[in-house]
Amino acid sequence: MNRSGMGRSGVSEFVIDIENLVFQWPGRNGFRLSIPQFKVKPGERIFLQGASGSGKSTLLGLLGGVLLPQPCRLRVLDTDMTALTSSARDRFRVDHVGFLFQQFNLVPYLSVRENVLLPCRFSPRRRQRSLEAAGTNAANALEQSADRLLAQLGLDAALARQPATALSVGQQQRVAAARALIGHPELIIADEPTSALDSDRQAEFLDLLLERCENENVTLIFVSHDERLAQHFTRSIHLNELRG
């Protein structure tokens, strides 16, 4: 409750702070996700695994403020998610969290660059931050910022104007990563972003993503079934360990 008591003057103690979380999909009694405690410190890169249907994606939805649990402690970046209205949670999500999904991560009728810049359209904060990152006042500073991010992820600037559907799956995932990273959100949530890639592409993609997160000191929650990837992370968790 007391913000200063949490030590949030610069960086808060936890990026994710969960206690006694219980969630059930409305109208479905079979599944129940309950997590007694889960805390993540800033800059951690967490590998989260778990059986199919165990509730990994559900947990990510709760962290992103798309789903609302029963009353409990669910703080993300020191914000009490259970206290926000649904539109405030939408706003919070785009302001502070970048998302990456398994496949078909892009809006097909937008160009690559437009896809990358999507969060900036919904969030003045992300927009502001990516303008700052561009370091210029040029009219196309936002585009420059997107293109630079794409370049850092190994994508040629020539691709920026292409329709999103013109890209290979591996390239699409990098564009999605650029979209998650643009405007420097504090938290990146990735739900099996590599499972559609072959093992070479997987390693390549993971390297790039981790490098970016490390460079920019972004906290990462990364869900995957592939245990071999766990070694690249600062912490590896099995959802069963979290569930109570």
């Binding site: 798309v66 939408d90 919904f122």
Partner: protein, 399 residues
């Protein structure tokens, strides 16, 4: 999808356009005429053949009747009209120079010549703008009239060619598609005819026709202008009660209203049908967008992940539908303008309706707005569906 909406809009606006243009045209043609007189028949039929050259007259009226009417003190002018012959599909109108002097249309405009002048001699002809243009006639050209309305080829007045002495400016009326000759000329070419066929063995050369009595004996109709419109009903009664023969005088406006009330049923059913086609187009749009939503659940999840609330998703989908409808409607509008450009000569030729291409009536605009508004309303359906989906799916689309 936008195409099917465009096509349905073309149909809807096209029907509306035709409707208003036809009315406009018809009422313009006779706006300066107070009474139309012919042999007793139905008012609508009289209007159709006397003014619009549609259909044939069943009976004619006597020259004496015309004189009685023309000399009536209330009458400012009377134009005799004798129909029945044709020239290569264009109606031949037997009349007097009074026609060019007194005939009024639209807002009181009178006929004007683009070349030459009224007919003076027996075998002089004045042609309408379309006749001149389509047949490539110039002043001084010789033309041969056909007997009857159809081009049969055989029944020609080939022995008595006419000379073009005047070409009228375009009016947008049936006048454009008429060949005007003197009443005497009509008598002259039929001197050696009887009962619609040349009299065998009798052929009177053109040089000799002047020796015969060419005073007109029969007419098809008379257009009358009154000195004062106040007396129009009195005059109508006078004609309808004329003792010499059964005559009919109609007030053009009244007869047209009668015509529209008959045609209105057809018009309205046409409008309803085209409205239904538009409805089918719009529901097709909704069906396609709805069906596509299943495939787009990931897209919705992406939008949610970048901060779009369910309400934003709703708006996006509704706007998407609206854009398709607007694009379709505008395409339809362009299509219609293009189409009326191409169809104008055809309609002019076959229905006597002159389209002012590119000119969309206020009613048509209203219809168009109505289509777009309906389009927006029906787009709310996929919008709402997307709203439900994005609420239920969150970030993990169920496929």
């Amino acid at each position: 999808m936008a195409i099917s909406i465009a096509l349905s809009v073309i149909l809807l606006l096209g029907v509306e356009q035709l409707r208003t243009q036809a009315r406009e045209n018809f009422s313009q043609s006779i706006s300066g005429t107070d009474l139309v007189v012919g042999a007793r028949t139905s008012p609508i039929q009289l209007m159709l053949y006397a003014v619009f050259r549609l259909g044939d007259a069943t009976h004619s009226i006597r020259w004496a009747s015309f004189q009685a009417i023309a000399q009536h003190p209330a009458v400012a002018w009377a134009i005799p009209i004798s129909l029945g012959d044709s020239h290569r599909g264009f109606a031949v109108v037997g009349t007097t120079p009074a026609y060019f002097k007194y005939f009024r249309y639209a807002d009181g405009r009178s006929l004007a010549f683009s070349a030459g002048g009224p007919f003076g001699d027996i075998f002089d002809a004045v042609i309408g703008a379309d006749v001149a243009e389509q047949l490539g006639y110039h002043l001084g050209d010789h033309i041969i009239l056909n007997h009857g309305a159809k081009d049969i080829g055989l029944a020609q007045h080939a022995d008595k060619p006419f000379q073009v002495v005047g070409i009228l400016k375009r009016t947008g009326l049936p006048v454009d598609r008429s060949v005007h000759v003197g009443l005497e000329a009509i008598e002259a070419i039929h001197l050696d005819w009887q009962g619609g066929a040349p009299i065998a063995g009798l052929s009177i050369p053109a040089e000799y026709v002047r020796k015969f009595d060419l005073n007109p004996k029969e007419l098809t109709a008379v257009l009358i202008g009154l000195k004062s419109r106040v007396g129009v009903f009195q005059m109508q009664r006078f004609i309808n009660q004329y003792r010499g023969e059964p005559l009919l005088a109609v007030l053009p406006g009244v007869a047209l209203d009668e015509l529209w009330s008959v045609v209105g049923i057809v018009e309205n059913s046409l409008l309803i049908i085209s409205a239904l086609v538009v409805a089918v187009g719009l529901s097709g749009l909704v069906a396609v967008v709805l069906a596509g939503l299943g495939e787009r659940r990931r897209e919705l999840a992406i939008l949610r992940s970048v901060g779009a609330g369910p309400r934003v998703v709703f708006m996006l989908l509704a706007i998407e539908g609206l854009i398709i409808v607007v694009v379709g409607s505008l395409l339809g509008l362009l299509g219609l303008i293009a189409l009326s450009h191409f169809a104008a000569p055809f309609l002019q030729a076959h229905l006597g309706i002159s389209l002012t291409a590119g000119l969309i009536s206020a009613e048509a605009w209203q219809l168009l707005l109505l289509v777009m508004a309906t389009g927006f309303l029906v787009s709310l359906v996929p919008g709402y569906r997307a709203y439900r989906i994005s609420l239920a799916d969150g970030l993990t689309p169920r496929l």
